[in-house]
């Protein structure tokens, strides 16, 4: 029963979105021309396509994101029940978090959290 209002709300919100787009489509003029439809780059002719292979700087971030997001998922039920479970549960979670923190420290030391990553190597290169 709790999810019925949610479903109604989702439907109503979707209706708002589509009504806005539909009204716009009905009311607005539609006169495309080639100049209007070009990619906007401040008046310059666009050179090449942006759909090339690009350097995803933070793919390592995406990996640790998954690790930590799963950690958060484990933390929620633990947090709700901690008061009943007592000290043993706390110690267990502390160990779990410590292990993940080592991973974070490793990524930090490898400098994957910086926009300009120095050449591959451990912490500091000699030159």
């Amino acid at each position: 029963m709790n999810f019925v209002p949610i479903l109604i709300f989702l439907g109503a919100a979707a209706a708002v979105v589509f009504a806005a787009l539909l009204t716009n489509r009905l009311l607005a003029p539609h006169k495309p021309n080639p100049a209007k439809l070009t990619t906007y780059e401040c008046g310059e002719e666009p050179v090449g396509s942006p759909w090339i292979r690009f350097n995803t700087r933070f793919y390592v971030i995406a990996l640790i994101f998954i690790v930590f997001d799963v950690e958060v998922l484990f933390l929620f039920p633990w947090a709700v029940n901690l008061k009943q479970m007592g000290m043993f549960a706390w110690v267990e979670m502390a160990v779990f978090i410590a292990i993940l923190s080592i991973g974070l420290a490793y990524v930090w030391a490898k400098r994957d959290l910086e926009w300009i990553k120095p050449k591959p190597g451990w912490v500091k290169s000699k030159d």
Binding site: A20, R57, I61, V72, I97, W108
Partner: protein, 360 residues
């Protein structure tokens, strides 16, 4: 049947409040920035010569969105280009479903909880739909086939997933204290008193949690100082190629997010709809004295209290947006992963320890 009608009325009221609130926020943002920069700000829109300090401006803006041509650039991906603004706006709207805006309204024998849905996984629902917003931004950046948009989308991807982790972790401490994910239960517990006089608001129990949660949440809304995906003054960002109502949806989503964030912060940390010393039957002061009030007055007081708190945090966010300069990207990442995140973990462990040590 009656129940369904009540739900429909609540849904309608909340949606109207959110959308018109967002419209008013566009005016607040322009006016507040104008005051801060010693300008007049928006004051030209008028109806029959009445200008009312520019309050008709959002109306004019909204109407303009409907009448502007909405075109898709030739080289863009047509499907994803249309889908992106919907994915940006829709989650912002639906997150409000679990936020309680009052206790219960009694009409005769009818007891109406003033919340769309009492979900026992309330905060998880919020996180889940909040997480969807990243798709809107990244898809807009990618599908536009524009280099500036792509840059915006790339920046948004790393920023939003990073701060999403913080958004979860910073609140674990609060959830430990109240032992529930259900937002209305959290608010109910905040109506009690600490030491006999201080309301048990989240801010008093989790000050560090609040200090960490608020910046992380602002980063999720992509506003200054975290506006790198947009970067108005440098790359324009992921919605460079948008026009008409589809641009309007992105624009509006930002303001809906401000309101939802303000509501969330006041719900979790500032007692939500609670008024200090106001209980289900009236005021009851710690220094003695009891003042019985009818249910309707109490509900109105609660709504007013919630509205004022939301207004305050909306104002605060606009103030922050017009005060601080933009972060550099590496600073942004460092703040999240080696600033907020370790402190949040520390907060969790400390809170747990304290909770277990003072347990009766």
């Amino acid at each position: 049947m009656l129940e369904t009608i009540i739900i429909l009325i609540k849904v309608w009221a909340v949606l109207i409040a959110l959308v018109s609130g967002a419209a008013i926020m566009t005016w607040v943002e322009r006016k507040e920035s104008a005051v801060m920069q010693d300008r007049l700000g928006a004051n030209r829109a008028d109806i029959l010569g009445f200008r009312v300090i520019g309050l008709f401006q959002p109306l004019a803006d909204g109407l303009k969105m409907f009448f502007k041509e909405d075109f898709i650039p030739d080289r863009a991906d047509k499907f994803l280009h249309t889908l992106a603004p919907i994915l940006a706006f829709f989650p912002a709207l639906v997150t409000f479903a679990v936020i309680p805006f009052g206790d219960v309204l009694k009409i005769g024998d009818l007891v109406i909880p003033l919340q769309i849905a009492k979900l026992n996984i309330g905060y998880l629902y919020l996180l889940a739909f909040g997480g969807l917003a990243v798709y809107g931004t990244v898809l807009a950046g990618y599908s536009s086939n524009n280099k500036y948009s792509l840059l915006g989308g790339l920046r948004a991807a790393a920023q939003m997933i990073s701060y999403e982790v913080c958004l979860g972790l910073t609140l674990i401490g609060l959830i430990m204290v109240y032992s529930t994910l259900q937002l209305d239960k959290i608010v109910q517990q905040q109506g009690e008193l600490l030491f006999g006089f201080l309301p048990v608001w989240g801010i008093f129990l989790q000050p560090l949690g609040f200090l960490l949660f608020f910046p992380a949440a602002i980063a999720e809304t992509k506003r200054v100082p975290f506006d790198l995906p947009e970067g108005e003054s440098e790359i324009i960002g992921y919605y460079t190629e948008y026009s008409g109502m589809r641009f309007g949806l992105f624009y509006f989503a930002e303001f809906v997010e401000i309101i939802v964030l303000a509501a969330l912060v006041s719900t979790l940390f500032f007692g939500g709809y609670q008024v200090p010393y106001l209980y289900a039957d009236g005021f009851s002061f710690p220094w003695g004295g009891h003042w019985v009030l009818p249910n309707l007055i109490i509900v109105l007081l609660q709504l007013a209290s919630f509205g004022l708190k939301i207004a305050f945090f909306c104002w605060l966010q606009v103030l922050i947006r017009w005060t601080l300069p933009r972060f550099r990207y590496d600073q942004l990442m460092r703040l999240c992963w080696v600033g907020i995140l370790p402190l949040a973990i520390l907060n969790i462990l400390l809170t747990g320890l304290i909770l277990l040590l003072i347990k009766p």
